[in-house]
Symmetry: C2
Subunit: 381 residues, 2 copies
């Protein structure tokens, strides 16, 4: 339903970014790059979590030295993250990086940028121009402080300057990121730049915060830009394990309809009508669904009154049975969400197909899930 912005396609190893390719998920290793074992293990773990492209910091010659072995072991294409020193960028390309993240403006003279672009061109390595609101060039920062430009406008000017710098060297394999820790500024910057170039966008909200706060800020910021069709590749940035960044990113893509081959679980927020342990059941069903890669919609709903109807789009659903008006002015159980004596129903596309005791419900759900998957020629594992 979302119309994507038209962008040029570039390739990061085997992954196409832009040109209408599926929105890819990136993360970044948080191990010291010089620790090859730890970094390779983290990349493996990221690949299992569903990461498409992994970025690795290359802050030193030693890190650049470790990169070749990391690349050799990695199941994912690696983007080398380099600041300031163009020799590190050259070394990273030499080591087999599938992409470079640099800020051409802080790499130094035109000759240095030209050397990096030449090496990248020879190896078919794209460059991400990464503009960060916190490290804008001084002249632009002064124009922001003077009220001449908004922060987002200044970020766009910086990006365009860097894009021109590289394109003047006849290098066009460019994607762009515009990161601010403020969601609204980030969104405004991407929206402005979208009108002024066709480079694919790497989208993220930087310094997003702890897992909880960062999930909220990233889901809002990236979600807005997904709805606009402006994301070609995304990074959820969390102060936490990188695998969690990937999980949040994938769930966000799925929520926005950009990953169609995964199950989706909807569950009601529960209310005074709830007659089964919705929270517990939803968590358990979520765990069951994590091992299935099939576009199936599953619902866990508190009550039979609203559940099957409100979740009629669900291929398969669970609802509490006998909710609604509690008897004698109290519910039959003090704790309406205790793991005990309720009853439930299983429904398909709004129609109740089975009834059972609450303690049986997961078993019955699995049976129905098996049968649904079997109809599609799939299994639960």
């Amino acid at each position: 339903m979302i119309r994507r912005r038209k962008t040029r396609a570039i390739r990061v190893g085997p992954v196409t970014v832009g040109g209408g390719a599926p929105v890819s998920v990136q993360s970044m290793t948080k191990t010291p790059t010089t620790d090859v074992e730890a970094t390779a293990a983290q990349i493996d773990s990221l690949a299992r979590a569903g990461c498409d492209i992994v970025r690795v910091a290359v802050p030193s010659p030693e890190a650049a030295g470790a990169l070749a072995e990391i690349v050799r072991r990695s199941p994912l294409p690696i983007v080398a993250d380099v600041h300031f020193d163009h020799r590190l960028a050259l070394a990273a390309v030499e080591a087999g990086a599938a992409g470079l993240r640099i800020n051409p403006g802080n790499i130094g003279s035109r000759e240095k940028v030209a050397a990096v672009a030449a090496a990248a061109r020879e190896r078919g390595v794209p460059i991400r121009v990464g503009v960060n609101a916190g490290s804008l060039e001084k002249p632009l920062r002064r124009r922001v402080e003077g009220g001449e430009l908004s922060l987002s406008e200044a970020m766009v000017e910086s990006a365009l300057r860097h894009i021109r710098l590289v394109e003047d060297l006849d290098f066009r394999e460019i994607k762009v990121s515009l990161k601010a820790s403020d969601v609204v500024t980030t969104v405004e910057a991407y929206r402005l730049l979208a009108k002024r170039c066709d480079c694919p966008f790497h989208v993220g909200v930087t310094e997003a915060g702890t897992i909880r706060a960062g999930t909220i800020r990233s889901a809002a910021g990236i979600g807005i830009l997904l709805m606009d069709g402006l994301c070609d590749t995304i990074r959820v940035s969390l102060t936490g394990p990188p695998e969690e960044e990937v999980r949040v990113a994938r769930r966000l893509l799925q929520a926005m309809g950009e990953r169609r081959n995964e199950p989706i679980l909807i569950s009601c927020p529960t209310c005074g009508r709830t007659s089964i342990d919705v929270v517990g059941l939803a968590e358990q069903v979520e765990a069951i669904l994590e091992r299935i890669h099939e576009p199936i919609c599953v619902a866990v709903m508190g009550c039979e009154v609203n559940g099957p109807g409100e979740a009629r789009e669900a291929d398969l659903g669970i609802a509490g049975s006998g909710g609604g008006a509690p008897r004698g002015g109290r519910t039959r159980r003090r704790d309406a969400r205790g793991p005990c004596g309720g009853r439930g129903v299983i429904f398909r596309k709004g129609e109740i197909v089975r009834r059972c005791a609450e303690r049986e419900i997961l078993k019955v759900f699995r049976e129905e899930l098996d049968s649904l998957l079997a109809q599609r020629g799939k299994t639960q594992d």
Copy 2:
């Protein structure tokens, strides 16, 4: 920075919704309404978490009977959630509900709707027209199935029909919600309706799922509509404790610049450059900040190289010191995020003001925070 849609203002008890009033936060009790003690306790807890308006399910005469005492004890205005039975709506108004959430189309005859509107008008109680994609009127559903209307268009038609039904009774204290479990459909529906009425919007993504998945879907869906300026009051819907719904909602509002009197914490995602325990420090700083109600921006950054610069907007920040190139091809510590022997800096607006050992850093941070708050005439508690 976000321009809000112009809407009529209505009042839910002491809370103004629409007309440019701050975006308010709603949640819903998940206790049996007939259990007055449990429900009153949950409302108190929601108030402490920062909830502005609380909704209570009224599924039975017994629940309606309990409502008067719940209202009497509640520090928050209560919206009664009623389906089908107009007598429950009348009883809820009688019991002192500050608002009604009904679906005029399923309350029954025009006379019944008129009776509810008359009672609501007399008590100054607004009505929320709550359209849910899962329970659309059959004729509209058929038009969707026949391909004549999209689901979002059908939701809008349903809302307009209900709004007209109530406005024809000369009742205008109306807010509207359009909920679908699908984010894109929800967003499209609100965007369409925004052009066709001036009723304030209650925005949420329904059946959003477990805390993790639901946070992502709600932050994306509500975030998009906050950016559009279309939210007047919001509900984050989670299969989990209602207090968590409120915390997520408030963080989202803050992230979108809609709550300016709260601290904001930015923290870097950590990378191979990190030399302190950023994750642990960020979590601890977040806990310290939860007790402060002052618009202050705090940063926790992994390295001195990028940290103070990238977070120059922070009033106060922590960064690791001595990161960057690890010595001898390894970091000095195997686990770069262990709670041990690193060093850190404290910075203000990008300028380093103190240096200390990592184990001292929280103590030093608190001192600097105290001094910053003292300058503003505030304290940490």
